[in-house]
């Protein structure tokens, strides 16, 4: 099998999406940790358009953008599938995956802002959670049904990163009693071995996000 390399950065959830997919499918890979304040020449060569992580390099050929990487992994290594076989169900999985992509800015706004903008972000984020709770998950254990799928991986950050964000911001967004299905989904997701064994260390994450929020708030004031 040709060599697989992943360029990522802890604790980026986008990085972890790819790690989870590779682990779920049992694909061996070499991990390269990038310092985002000092990006390697190789990363810039592999992703000249966006200059971002994650980048997957397979047999020397680079693929960028986390969800695009996931679709590539799914097509190239079909074992332990992340997408259903049936076209309509695939469309549904892609819909909820795209919803995660589209709404990441809302949660980012919750994290990086304060004042009026922050209040609006809270309102928007709660609406997203409401939609997920009532329309996204349904009665299923995972978005993918009985096993973790593409949409679960796309939303996976919420099971672990959201709590850290809330602690740094000093505000609780997600209440288990308000979103019981989502709460159960988060618990189930974190129990999956490939996920459980591949999560960033919490204290390090906390410190990192505290620093990030300070910088973001300071720059929005100036």
């Amino acid at each position: 099998m040709e060599e697989v390399k992943l360029f990522g950065a802890t604790p980026s959830p986008f990085s972890y999406r790819v790690i989870w997919a590779l682990k779920l499918k049992g694909i061996p890979y070499e991990y390269v940790e990038e310092d985002l304040s000092n990006k390697s020449a190789l990363l810039l060569q592999y992703n000249p358009v966006h200059k971002k992580i994650p980048v997957l390099v397979h047999g020397g050929k680079p693929i960028a953008e986390s969800i695009i990487i996931l679709e590539y992994i799914e097509q190239t290594w079909p074992q332990n599938p992340l997408l259903p076989k049936e076209a309509y169900e695939r469309a549904q999985a892609r819909f909820w995956t795209k919803f995660a992509e589209d709404k990441s800015l809302t949660f980012y706004a919750f994290f990086r802002s304060d004042g009026e903008e922050h209040e609006k972000a809270i309102k928007d984020a709660l609406e997203v959670l409401r939609i997920l709770e009532e329309q996204g998950l349904g009665e299923k254990k995972f978005f993918g049904g009985d096993t973790v799928g593409l949409a679960d991986i796309a939303w996976g950050w919420m099971a672990y990163w959201l709590g850290v964000m809330e602690e740094v911001v000093g505000k609780k967004l997600f209440e288990a009693h308000a979103f019981p299905r989502l709460h159960e989904w988060m618990e189930n997701f974190k129990k999956v071995p490939a996920i459980k064994e591949n999560l960033p260390e919490r204290n390090g994450m906390l410190a990192h996000f505290k620093r990030q929020r300070e910088i973001l708030i300071a720059s929005s004031i100036s």
């Binding site: 695009i68 990487i69 590539y72 076209a87 469309a91 795209k98």
Partner: protein
């Protein structure tokens, strides 16, 4: 009625069934709605086009897309599919008799998805930036900055075209593919922006490949009937601008 449905006999139950089996909710002016229309044309699948109006959204639309309440929505055998690119992928996967829209090679497919995301998330917003600049105080400067952004993006896309087309006429090679549909669906609005601002965005000097590609795309049989006329788009643009300039209702 002549049935254009080229899917397998098991699926095609006659022209009347084929037409009512596939419905598309949309509006003629929307680039996003154009995408599934081109895809269905490529596959020679007949469908019923249910036109939405600007003023209000139909019950069917609100029911079929409760999350976003937006078009396009494809309704196939009474099941709704939303989001233009998800619909195009669905069409490609269901109607396998027609030409393929996405490349079959996983790497080429990833590259096609990459450019589709770039066009939708980075490039098209920069086109909107030109129109938005017209409402700014330092209009001339804002417009120049916005135009520069669009042009820079087009140079990137010119290079992508060279790489993807491999000397053939389209991003998809010999035939229209995924990236062609994504970028091509914005040609109407691009031309309208050019006309309304007196600027040439896709031009011979910087993006000769894309100039030829644009002509080819618009003349293609799968595209011709569904590409809106620039003049009609201008009317809509003026309407939208007037709406934004009007004082907010009390």
């Amino acid at each position: 009625m002549f049935c254009k449905c080229s899917s397998s006999p098991r699926l095609c139950l006659g022209s009347a069934m084929a037409t009512s089996d596939v419905k598309l909710l949309g509006a003629w002016a929307s680039p996003y709605v154009m995408r599934p229309r081109i895809a269905l044309n490529i596959k020679s699948v007949s469908y019923e086009f249910l036109e939405e109006t600007f003023e209000s959204k139909s019950q069917l639309l609100l029911q079929s897309n409760p999350v976003h309440k937006k078009m396009p929505v494809l309704i196939h055998a009474d099941k709704p599919i939303c989001e233009s690119l998800i619909i195009v992928q669905y069409i490609d996967e269901i109607w396998t008799n027609g030409p393929s829209i996405l490349p079959s090679d996983p790497y080429d497919r990833a590259i096609a998805r990459f450019w589709a995301a770039y066009i939708d998330d980075k490039w098209f917003p920069s086109i909107i930036g030109i129109t938005r600049a017209q409402g700014e105080e330092a209009k001339a400067v804002a417009t120049a900055v916005a135009i520069e952004q669009v042009s820079a993006g087009l140079v990137v896309l010119e290079e992508a075209f060279e790489k993807c087309s491999k000397g053939k006429g389209y991003f998809g090679g010999e035939q229209i593919g995924y990236v062609d549909i994504v970028l091509g669906s914005f040609l109407g609005w691009t031309r309208m922006t050019e006309k309304m601002n007196g600027v040439k965005l896709i031009d011979e000097a910087k993006t000769p490949g894309l100039v030829g590609w644009a002509e080819r795309f618009c003349a293609n049989n799968a595209v011709k009937e569904v590409m809106p006329e620039t003049e009609k788009l201008e009317e809509i643009a003026k309407m939208i601008q007037a709406k934004f300039r009007a004082p907010p209702p009390k």
